[in-house]
Symmetry: C2
Subunit: 259 residues, 2 copies
């Protein structure tokens, strides 16, 4: 049913290690081989790589594994199709512009019988429940805040409501970011880890690969990696509780409660 | 001041040969080295590769040169910055969704003092005249046809008007496509060639490379390549006249006149 991978950090960092493990689940160690995608924010800019080929065989995924793109906000997805055929237009993450920023979204789950009305602004290009849900979320945000992006507490409040509404319809784990804020919602299954000093070595589950983060970081670095299931077998990951909508900033989940 | 490259064909075709020559102009044979991008339509899906690094050194451009992606509608761009700093968010082509389709746009030129009002739907993420013009064009189309994509003649009529308005402000050569229709506007400089049976060999100007198209095509294939200046030195290219807005379909410019 797809898997999600996200990264949020306080300094631009590459995701090659995590993506190496994650992309193996797209056809090698697991069956999420109906396409994949990854989006990197660099300032206001956003690079989006997509392919309907499995991540384990896609030459574009091979480039992403090898070419270190540094970013503070990354969202990736490997697809196991539930709704919508295997095709480029149905690959996540999806991207739209709102308030003069790019917004990127990826979903793990299924919203059966989800047929929203066409709200007028954003329309799905493909035929996944995921893209339709994303369109609805952005539509709602735009309607509520027509003048521009609000403060985080107001944004969170509206996002929370539309998330709750959608989560009632099925399984709705997601990652959402505009390169400034990073949201992770656990409907059923999502975990994260924060890596910071003192760093240590990490070993992937899906590839026999270890990185000693002490060699590639500074004392000030902090990186949160969010994934459907843990990517490493020698670290302690935190399970996000079902119903929790977390906001990550500078490599940490924000601690204060939003209403 | 940037260069444009486009391809429209009747069967999905790769653009590797043309892109090999074109991307050399991004830092090797010419100075359009302030970023580049290329968009490929595959059905309703759209792949967009962007980099602020010069196309001649970008590893992503190297992938695009080597990995044959087949498409019927392709738009590419190499940048020599006039307005807006060198950054990912200012690289063309730009992409937005309208009427449930992705629209892609790239511009060669300069619209000095172009500061459109914020029309409410689409806002530029970056600060180029090009992206602002694209937003205005899509905004206008959306306002005129709120129910959905109109027939080509109606679409063309509105596109023609907003193009004329923008072209008064400066230099406005552009390529625009939604994967179904392909528009090429010549403000000052744009050429094209149609390759069809009987095919022949073509030799690039910017790289010492020849392809014999008889070896890689069938009798039925037809490919139009549109570029700011010709890419080959042994073929006859057609110069588009300033003020002409052409519609390409199945590898040919449509012959009947639009009003």
């Amino acid at each position: 049913m797809c898997q999600l991978l996200g990264m949020n950090c306080n300094v631009p960092t590459d995701i090659c290690f995590s993506f190496e493990g994650f992309s193996a689940r797209g056809g090698k160690t697991d069956h999420h081989s109906d396409g994949w995608g990854i989006a990197f924010f660099e300032g206001k800019g956003c690079r989006l790589f997509l392919d309907e080929k499995p991540s384990i065989t896609s030459p574009i995924a091979e480039l992403v594994r090898c070419y270190a793109i540094h970013s503070t906000h990354v969202i990736a997805h490997i697809r196991k199709a539930t709704q919508g055929e295997v095709a480029l237009h149905n690959c996540h993450p999806f991207r739209r512009e709102l308030w003069g920023r790019y917004w990127v979204f990826a979903h793990n789950g299924n919203l059966p019988e989800f047929e929203p009305e066409n709200m007028g602004f954003y329309q799905a290009v493909g035929n996944t429940d995921s893209e339709k849900a994303f369109c609805m979320m952005l539509e709602t945000l735009r309607e509520q805040f027509p003048e521009g992006k609000p403060t985080l507490d107001k944004l969170y409040s509206v996002l929370r409501k539309v998330t709750d509404k959608l989560a009632l319809l099925g399984i709705f784990n997601y990652l959402l970011s505009d390169g400034e804020h990073f949201f992770a919602y656990c409907s059923t299954k999502l975990s994260y880890i924060v890596r910071q000093a003192p760093f240590a070595a990490a070993h992937l589950i899906d590839q026999d690969m270890t990185v000693d983060f002490r060699e590639v970081t500074t004392e000030r670095d902090r990186v949160a990696v969010i994934a459907t299931t843990p990517l490493t077998d020698n670290e302690v990951w935190t399970q996000i509780q079902p119903g929790e909508l977390l906001v990550f900033q500078d490599g940490l989940p924000l601690k204060y409660a939003f209403t």
